[in-house]
Structures are given as C-alpha cells and as structure tokens.
Symmetry: C2
Subunit: 223 residues, 2 copies
C-alpha cells in the first residue's frame, strides 16, 4: 500500500519536475544559453574538468556555473577563482538536483551567457532520473572507479549523450580498459560520444571543448 | 502538498525499514552473526577490500557476503571465487539497500556464520539513511575521490563507526591529505575509527581485520 502511494507521489513529483524543466529549456533556448548537466560519482572530477574546460571557452564565450552539493560552498569557490560566476545550490541532504532548485538558482545569475554548466550532486544513480532542462547530459567515469561501472549503473549512461573518461593520466598505473568501458557504455547507449581526458596533463581537453562548441552551434545555428 | 505527502510516505517507509532492521538485528544477535554494512561511492573499492579481508578471517571464522547492486552479478562472482558464499541483491534501480531486501537475501543464505558483510549499492548519499540491522557501519573513502568528501557528504560519515581510506598506494602520486580527510571526518563524527589501507600492497589490512575481530568479541563476549 505504502509502496503504491510512494510510486504515485514519485510520479507526480517527476511530472512537476518535468514541467519546470520544460520551462527552463524554453528560457534557455530563447536566450541561446547552451546548458550542460554533468553527472558522476563523488570525486570523479567534475569540478576539475570544469577547471580545465572553462579557460578554453572563456576567450570566446560568456560562461556560468551552477554548483550542486549536499553541503559546502567549496566547488563554487574553485570556479569563482577562475573569474567565472558560480552559484552554489546546497541541497541539504537531497542526493540530486531537481529542476525547481535549478530555476531558483538561475534567477540569481547573469542570464546573458552562452554556456551554463550544471554540476550535479556526486551520485551516479539518482541524478539520472531528473531532467533539468539541459541540452546536453554528460556522464563522467574516472579511471580509478573501474571499467565495470557502466553495466552496474546503467541509467546514468543510458540517459547521457556524452561520456567523459577522466583521470586518464592514471591509465598507466591502474587496471582500467578504456575499450571495455567504451564497449559496455555503448551497449547501453549507442549514441554516446566518448572522450578520454586528463585535466592534469590536458590530454583530450581540446576534443572535448570542440565537441561542446559544435553542439552549441548545432543547437543554435543562428548564434 | 505533494511534498508534504512525500515526506509522510518517506517517514512511514523509514519506520517500516527500521522495524525489519530491528528484527534482523535480533536474529543476528541470537545467532552471534556480526554484521558489517559497507557504504561508499561507486568504485571506492568495497569488493576489493572484501577480497583482501575475507582470506584473513576465513581461517578462524565462517563468513558470508550479501552484495547489493543495481544491476549485474559481478561482485558476487568475485566473492564466490574466494570460496565464500555470496548472495547478490540487484535492486533494479533503487539506489540503496533497504532492510526488507536484506531480510529476503538472508533467508537464502547459510545462517550459521560469524561474520556477514553487506556491500551496499555504490552511493555515498542514500544508503546512509537506511538501517540494515548491522552491528558496524563502515564508510570507505578512496584516495582518488579526494580528501574533501567528508564535509561534502556528511551523513555517511556521521552515521558510521569506522572510516576506511582505501587505495593508499596512490597517496604518493595524488594530492590527498590523510590528515585533512581524518580531521574533517572526525569533526563530523568524533567516534570514528580511521584506517588507511591498500588492498594492493596489503598496508593497513592487519589493523583493519584485527578491529573487526575485536568488535565482534565486544559484541558477543560469550562467542
């Protein structure tokens, strides 16, 4: 009984989420703000990937970041140190971002931007269920996590359009097969664009940022 | 409105969970089965820690493992390769184990065991909210995840009695301060016992397994 009620409440919450996500997407389309939702386990390197990505984009684009965390302002402070506007959303226990949280944060930001990066709460499970109105969903998998993770946490991979394998500098010392991770991820989602990067050495960052620019151009051909 | 209803349903689900957890704890107390609940982000090394721990305990104890995953039987197969009984619970989407899932799996197992290890779903957030009737809750933090995680994901650390910092062999090459991780974890939960281990080199494994034996003796002085 309780289970059936939970499912129904969950359905209605997801519906409310999707309604706000749709509203956000319309606003972003109108303003030609290309929005990227980054999803990964804790410590996969979302903030570090942004620290490597933003300086490349900053020369040509106006960029903003929305940082989702359960507690602390630390990630937003790292982004601000690059001279980029960052709004921190602390969820206070909730294990993922929902569209209404994003909408509230978006109201506090400079809306005249070309790229908005949303760094989700570190969690490879629940964030995958919530549309935030983004144009591009990216799942990160770090080399130390292991190449078996796509099959074990399929939804994050199934709902993403790009996979970024991070901390590639550790490939030499760790037992991680890029081929296996790529193959198992593509079995789950054949449309995934796969990038292998190291924010430390810079490997793979140009291909990744070019992909972001290209996707923005495809989404807003008149921009 | 929907939010209030969700909170109530959540409360009643947690109550139902705690009821089953209490029943499990009583059964385990009666059988002198010492139960350890392992919680961490995906890829922090729960299965690998078990692969290093079980051979040490096997010479003196009867041991079993309950493997929680969203999908795949892979972790259970790794444990069975050690000659240890492992029951896989695939949650089919749910991001954490709940006591009723554990009870169902426990019914399938040999109940005459001294140690039961429960490997939770890889998630540093939601599993912390569900009592599984365990005697000892252990949170793992791997060196590549970063020393800033206790403050960012406090509940898993607040509700645990032990913290195992894993993949210590990577301390030389990565920017991770054991001191900072320990200090911030102890600020959240001053009673935490902290271990620094590498399943690869074996560093720290003796102190960790001695701690497990000692805790079991304290829990069951007549055993």
């Amino acid at each position: 009984m309780a289970e059936i009620r939970t499912v129904r409440v969950m359905e209605s919450l997801l519906k409310a989420n999707d309604y706000v996500a749709q509203r956000l997407r319309q606003a972003w389309d109108q303003g030609q703000t290309f929005v990227v939702n980054l999803i990964s386990a804790p410590g996969a390197g979302k903030t570090t990937l942004l620290e490597a990505t933003l300086p490349v984009l900053l020369s040509r684009y106006r960029v903003g970041v929305l940082e989702g965390d359960i507690e602390t302002e630390r990630d937003a402070e790292r982004i601000r140190a690059l001279g980029v506007e960052a709004v921190q959303v602390t969820t206070g226990g909730t294990c993922h971002l929902e569209a209404p949280m994003v909408e509230q944060a978006w109201r506090l930001m400079d809306n005249e931007i070309d790229f908005l990066f949303i760094e989700n709460v570190g969690n490879l499970v629940c964030p995958a269920s919530f549309d935030l109105g983004e144009h591009l969903r990216v799942v990160l998998l770090s080399v130390p996590e292991g190449d078996d993770k796509p099959a074990k946490y399929p939804k994050a991979f199934r709902t993403a359009q790009a996979l970024v394998i991070t901390k590639a500098d550790l490939l030499e010392t760790m037992d991680f097969s890029v081929e296996r991770a790529r193959r198992e991820a593509l079995e789950i989602q054949p449309e995934l664009q796969v990038f292998v990067v190291s924010a430390k050495t810079g490997v793979g960052i140009p291909a990744w940022t070019q992909f972001l620019e290209q996707r923005r151009r495809q989404t807003f051909p008149d921009a």
